[in-house]
């Protein structure tokens, strides 16, 4: 191996791709850069990698300062916890529970939460010939591939789950506990696709904004136990979430 002191020698290929990235971005000190350039002069793999990096400029997402700064804005605190306390206090003092936004549902043990953001939305799309197109609402079956788009004017994060006809909950976004960050005020196509399994329907997809996954999970399960898919839809409406019901073939 060539002497590349100052540039980390690596196993396998002579130099790490990170070193080459640093070379491509002028991130290496001049002496190290010169040594690395000399060392890779006859290395076609390194040259190909550097060419690939240069070509990657065209594929990189365009600079959008607002989108980046939007992620840095102080994270909105979920409102479910204080509202839960408010609901409890209201129920204790005035005997009211259902009139208060976010109050506990008298018919279920669903946690009382209230998602942030006016008129948030969830829409599904379906893969047809390898492309996602808006779903027309027709019943779907095992193997059908879905995409999801969410819109929330104010919210900073989304939790997306579904509950099928067996009452099994699947968590697609927010599985780590915290809502998946999204950009407020514009449709956000959630990455990846969902492949329906053979579970019985209907399957209700629910997007909740700025609320941790755990109370959402408990709320959906509790609502489903009380009244199946229609109760889940009602629960979603009550907490300011968006739901879409997919009937199964």
């Amino acid at each position: 191996m060539n002497d590349t002191s100052g540039v980390t020698p690596t196993i396998g290929p002579s130099w790490s791709r990170i070193d080459l990235c640093r070379l491509a971005t002028n991130d290496l000190p001049p002496d190290d850069a010169a040594r690395l350039r000399a060392a890779i002069a006859d290395d076609p793999a390194a040259a190909a990698f550097l060419d690939g990096l240069e070509r990657a400029r065209a594929a990189a997402p365009p600079f959008d300062a607002a989108a980046i700064r939007g992620r840095v804005a102080p994270k909105r605190r979920s409102t479910w916890a204080p509202l839960l306390m408010l609901a409890a206090a209201a129920a204790l003092t005035a005997g009211l529970s259902s009139a208060l936004v976010g109050a506990a549902d008298p018919t279920t043990d669903a946690p009382s939460i209230r998602a942030r953001g006016a008129t948030p939305g969830l829409t599904l799309s379906r893969a047809v010939d390898g492309r996602l197109v808006p779903w027309d609402g027709a019943p779907l079956g095992e193997g059908d591939v879905l995409g999801a788009t969410v819109f929330a004017p104010e919210a900073a994060g989304v939790v997306l789950m579904s509950i099928d006809g067996d009452g099994a909950v699947s968590i697609y976004f927010g599985a780590s506990g915290d809502p998946e960050p999204i950009t407020a005020g514009e449709p956000v196509h959630l990455p990846g696709t969902i492949v329906l399994d053979g579970a019985p329907g209907p399957e209700v997809f629910v997007a909740v904004f700025d609320v941790p996954a755990d109370p959402v999970h408990r709320g959906i399960k509790a609502a489903w136990r009380e009244g199946g898919a229609p109760a889940v839809v009602r629960w979603a409406e009550r907490v300011g979430a968006s739901s879409v019901v997919v009937e199964r073939r």
Binding site: S16, C21, V195
Partner: protein, 196 residues
């Protein structure tokens, strides 16, 4: 008042006049983006095999730059710092995907939706495609160690610096992973010389 003509003049500089406490302007951020975004995107796409996820990873990395601009400006190698951040993000995304009840398919480029098309990244993918499934139940540091070692081709020393482990620990984790991977792939166990 210190001029802010370019952010690159102060990388690693130990300034005490408060310069580093100034928030990062859009112009500075734009300069950084022009210099580094394509490299980060290329690498994240290779790891995640999904263009949207890769774009998200790039934006999230630059958001972290904004949040930590003081520490970032003091970095001797801004790119290495951003690679470390984006790597952690990508590994979290992969872990999150694995938790989605097996329903979230890893279609990769053919189904990204809304007329997106993605050229196949070069080289790196084949390795990572094989390696990634073997790491699903590994801890974060082991996943990062394997990624830096086998996908980026980093030395044990470089990997140790990036992951924040000692070199002997990196060696041990790499050996353990290789033994496990060979077993899973039905290959014979490697010698210590092979693994390093």
């Amino acid at each position: 008042m210190v001029a802010r003509s370019t952010p690159f003049l102060v990388w690693g500089a130990r300034v005490s006049n408060g310069w580093r406490k100034l928030p990062m302007t859009d112009a500075e951020l734009g300069d950084l983006y022009a210099r580094y975004a394509h490299v980060l995107h290329h690498r994240c796409r290779a790891i995640l095999r999904n263009d949207e996820d890769a774009r998200d990873a790039v934006h999230e990395t630059f958001a972290r730059v904004l949040r930590n601009h003081e520490a970032f400006r003091a970095e001797a190698s801004p790119l290495t710092w951003m690679i470390r951040i984006s790597t952690n993000h990508c590994l979290n995304v992969l872990r999150d995907r694995g938790l989605r009840a097996g329903k979230l398919d890893r279609h990769g480029p053919e189904i990204l939706g809304y007329d997106a098309t993605v050229p196949q990244p070069d080289g790196v993918l084949l390795d990572w495609r094989t390696i990634a499934p073997l790491l699903e139940d590994a801890d974060d540091q082991t996943r990062a160690t394997v990624l830096y070692t086998f996908v980026d081709g980093c030395s044990r020393e470089q990997t140790a610096r990036l992951v924040g482990l000692s070199v002997p620990t990196v060696r041990k984790r790499v050996r353990t992973f290789v033994e496990r991977a060979r077993k899973a792939l039905g290959l014979t166990a490697p010698s210590l010389e092979e693994v390093g």
